[in-house]
């Protein structure tokens, strides 16, 4: 079997495997759901994730050890990952192939020539690594997720492609999934893919920081592509389909070669081979970066992160509507681990975890934030899926006991994501004299974090004058009442002496209270009675509220909700607390 055939099989295999892992990332025990599939494998194999998080946290999270064999193989063999494994690379390879297949040899060779711009990806890598290593007061920042190919593809498939296909066909999930800002993710994905129509493997050659990393690691590979004999006729067939644009016909650039082996296959002269000796035409091992270029990207990195943080969003100017999933690390540490892969957003059963926008700060872009108005019910009480799926433990894999403050964690108490605040200017029983308490009803903790106090309010135009009263039937002088409007079971009739009875029904000019429980003192002619509505008004017990947002989700004031979760009180941030610890509850 020819080597390119093996390579193609490998690409197809890993591409299908990647899509399969994306598809099965939903909770459940069926074989086509999560149930033990290693859905984070590609992210774990990705050495940029491992090295990035190692720089920011000075530790290697144990599942990321998978990166070590990849690094080892790259050191020995070269940039095999790009051509043989990377699903994003396979997309670019395929689209580039489609775009150029009808062109002639000269056009193909021209498309695959080495370009100086291929050094840009190294500058991007240096920039990100500087950000990850910068010893700032609030720590470094991990932004590799923006351009890492596995993160990017994971985000694009999970948050855009799968939901779009699902919304068109209704086959993948039971109810439509929503993701805010998906248009931007799609634009970037399509831009990257369509750029292959201009230059094949555009992203891989010019942008990919992972490719740059592999280029640096693999430049001294033991085996590499090269010319094994002299007498090359310079027919340029080797560059007909060269994926790395590494110039195999001349002095081959090892750090650009992605081991697609197309040159080996296409060489008409049996000159190109994969060998331990350096190419007879010479090889360039180092990436084409100048010292000046290195300094410029390093300086940009050194300035960029502190500049981004000048808004003090990690301090007193924190964005209070930023609610992170339960188990999320404190914000500085969270931003050192989150690679914006979107796995947590995909697995969340209630669809409440959304890709963040820029409002909480640039670093929050595409990180998980909770939007209680989207999805089926806020953060579900008995669920810890996001922590278990997070590949870098930006969201810790907490147990249910830790989340709910049970057993060993009873002393520590439950994990709070924030606190709900009743907006009394919008709440139905507080501002509109209308009974409701859907929030209290749905509060999932026990004892509930929302409790009610009952009050009676005299309704508008509710003071009436008695004409005649017999038993429980009071006839009024005013005769413009709407029949039955007070029969809902929530209205009461208040007498001068303080007696209050539930109204059963009314006509235009009579009020009828229950005959079984009528007035002790029948009101007389000319006396005033008051029609009152009984309101249960919600209050939040801030010691019990965990900020799960089910109340906000269920509130019938569906625009700007009358109860909203705010970041104050979240367990992971002491500086956002509004009550001192040690207070008696």
């Amino acid at each position: 079997m020819r080597i390119v055939t093996v390579r193609r099989i490998s690409q197809i295999f890993f591409f299908v495997l990647f899509l399969w892992f994306c598809l099965v990332t939903t909770i459940g025990g069926e074989w086509w759901r999560l149930r033990g599939w290693p859905v984070n494998l590609f992210l774990q194999l990705d050495p940029l994730v491992a090295i990035g998080t190692a720089l920011t946290t000075h530790s290697l999270y144990w599942p990321l050890l998978w990166a070590l064999p990849v690094v080892a193989l790259t050191i020995i063999l070269g940039r095999f990952f790009c051509s043989w494994v990377c699903p994003f690379g396979s997309v670019h390879h395929f689209v580039g192939f489609l775009a150029y297949r009808k062109k002639n040899l000269a056009e193909k060779v021209k498309a695959n020539r080495y370009r100086k711009g291929q050094c840009i990806k190294y500058f991007i890598l240096i920039f990100f690594l500087i950000l990850a290593a910068l010893p700032l007061a609030k720590g470094p920042g991990l932004q590799i997720g923006l351009l890492d190919p596995i993160s990017l593809m994971s985000r694009s498939v999970n948050l855009v492609l799968l939901p779009v296909i699902d919304n068109l066909t209704g086959t993948i999930s039971v109810s439509a999934r929503f993701y805010e800002g998906a248009w931007l993710i799609l634009t970037i994905f399509f831009a990257a893919v369509f750029l292959n129509l201009l230059i094949p493997r555009f992203y891989c050659r010019f942008i990919c920081p992972l490719g740059a990393l592999f280029g640096i690691i693999g430049r001294f590979a033991i085996w590499r592509i090269g010319k094994k004999q002299i007498g090359c006729p310079d027919c340029k067939m080797c560059e007909r389909a060269c994926q790395g644009a590494c110039a195999p016909s001349a002095k081959i650039r090892i750090s650009e070669c992605v081991l697609c082996f197309n040159c080996l296959q296409d060489c008409a002269n049996e000159t190109i081979s994969y060998q331990t000796r350096p190419s007879l035409a010479g090889e360039i091992t180092n990436p084409d970066i100048t010292r000046r270029g290195f300094m410029l990207s390093a300086i940009s990195g050194v300035f960029a992160l502190p500049a981004i943080r000048l808004g003090n969003l990690l301090g007193s100017n924190y964005y209070y509507r930023l609610i992170r999933p339960p188990g999320a690390l404190p914000e500085e540490e969270f931003l050192q681990r989150c690679i914006k892969c979107g796995q947590c957003m995909r697995i969340c059963p209630t669809n409440v975890i959304q890709p963040g926008g820029l409002q909480p700060g640039f670093e929050s872009l595409w990180t998980p934030v909770l939007n209680m108005r989207i999805g089926s019910s806020g953060c579900q009480l008995n669920c810890t899926a996001c922590g278990y799926i997070c590949p870098t433990s930006a969201i810790r894999p907490i147990s249910l006991s830790e989340k709910l403050g049970l057993d060993d964690f009873a002393q520590a108490g439950p994990i709070k994501m924030g606190t709900a605040f009743v907006d009394r200017s919008r709440c139905l029983p507080w501002a509109m004299d209308k009974p409701c308490i859907v929030c209290q009803e749905n509060c999932p903790v026990s004892p509930k974090a929302i409790y009610t106090r009952t009050s009676f309010e005299t309704v508008r135009d509710g003071i009436l004058t008695v004409k005649k009263a017999v038993g429980g039937v009071v006839e009024t002088i005013e005769d413009t009442l709407v029949p039955d409007q007070f029969s809902t079971g929530d209205y009461y009739c208040l007498l001068k002496n303080g007696e209050r009875r539930k109204i059963e029904t009314n006509t235009e000019n009579t009020i009828v209270v229950s005959s079984a429980d009528s007035f002790e003192r029948i009101p007389v002619e000319g006396e005033k009675i008051e029609i009152q509505i009984r309101l249960q008004r919600p209050y939040v017990d801030i010691h019990r509220c965990i900020g799960c947002g089910v109340c906000e989700h269920e509130c019938p004031v569906s625009g700007r909700r009358a109860i909203r979760v705010s970041a104050e009180g979240e367990t992971r941030s002491r500086h956002k607390s509004i009550t001192p610890k040690g207070q008696y509850l």
Binding site: N351, S377, K434, I437, C443, T488, G489, S514, P556
Partner: protein
């Protein structure tokens, strides 16, 4: 090029071009005619909707409307309760398709009693298949929390599937607007009607629960799970909506499970201390009568629940369960 410029267009070419132009003109003219709208768009109008759901109730049989069985084992008590009303064979005929609507509102474990007991639901499914010889039993609900999580965490999904039922999760396309005749709130409101079009009998299964807003949640409130849309808005007139639900849904049989009653902090509860074992199972051909009896388990009287009186006035049933001659017995 210069030759044909000098020669001019041939007759054949001219006719061909004219024909194509004519055809395009005709197409444009036809499209304009078919799509012509003289009046412009109307003001916002919502489809009127269906006036009533299918009637799944069975003919009245004197003395066989409501049964109450006291016992600690749900499987035993539900079997006895249904047998006292004539057996499942009275309700389910061979080859019929049955829809069971249990309370699966919350993603709450069965031990907290906020949802229908999974073993109870499974037993009713088994009865329908084994003795009723039903062709298919479907379980459904439009829960408050995430539907898949509710069916999984409540245990009802697994128990019912193992008994052979099909779980039907709500989808947008299953709801149609309903305007209940005689109703004030259910007007142009999405209701879970599409699955009801294809079934023969409807059974409701609900636990007895306290409810902070309505006082109680039993078989009538159970039908809330057939409403779609932003149904929370009805809490402002909770008694009327429950009454209208009882008017709208004419079920074959309702089962009210008072084995473990949620006495406080309903409808979600959340602690074992909210529950009290009362060991009562009620089967009824009428939800209003079942609730009227069941409220006593919450130490409430019929007068304490305004929705009962409203339902009676709306013609959904009687609250005077004594008049229906309930059969009350015990096991063990």
């Amino acid at each position: 090029m210069t030759e044909s410029e000098q020669k001019g267009i041939t007759r054949r070419d001219f006719i061909r071009r004219s024909a194509k132009a004519g055809a395009s003109l005709a197409a444009a003219g036809a499209a304009s005619y078919w799509l012509y709208d003289a009046a412009g768009p109307p003001a916002v109008s919502v489809e009127e909707g269906i006036k009533a759901l299918p009637d799944f109730s069975i003919p009245h049989s004197e003395g066989k409307t409501i049964s109450v069985v006291k016992g600690s084992d749900r499987v035993e008590t539900v079997n006895k309760a249904i047998d006292l009303l004539g057996g499942i064979e009275r309700f389910v005929k061979p080859g019929e398709r049955i829809l069971i609507k249990p309370n699966v509102a919350f993603a709450s474990p069965p031990i907290l009693g906020a949802t229908a007991n999974p073993q109870l639901v499974a037993e009713v499914v088994r009865l329908c298949y084994r003795r009723g010889k039903a062709k298919q039993v479907i379980i459904t609900d439009n829960p408050i929390n995430d539907p898949q999580s509710c069916f999984r965490l409540s245990g009802i999904g697994k128990a019912a599937s193992e008994a052979g039922a099909k779980i039907l999760l709500p989808r947008d396309g299953y709801f149609r607007n309903v305007s209940l005749a005689g109703g004030r709130l259910i007007k142009n409101w999405p209701v879970f009607t599409v699955p009801l079009e294809k079934i023969d009998k409807l059974i409701g299964i609900a636990p007895v629960k306290d409810h902070d807003r309505s006082g109680a949640s039993m078989t009538m409130k159970n039908w809330y799970g057939l409403l779609g849309g932003r149904r929370n808005i009805f809490h402002q007139d909770i008694n009327t909506i429950i009454a209208e639900l009882a008017m709208m849904v004419k079920a074959t049989l309702v089962i009210l499970d008072g084995t473990q009653v949620m006495m406080t902090n309903g409808p979600t509860g959340g602690a074992a201390s909210d529950l009290q074992r009362k060991n009562v199972m009620i089967a009824s051909c009428n939800a209003v009568a079942a609730d009227a009896y069941g409220c006593s388990l919450l130490n409430l009287a019929v007068a304490d629940l305004p929705y009962l009186g409203k339902a009676r006035k709306g013609g959904a049933g009687t609250t005077d369960f004594e008049s229906l001659k309930p059969i009350i017995t015990s096991i063990g």
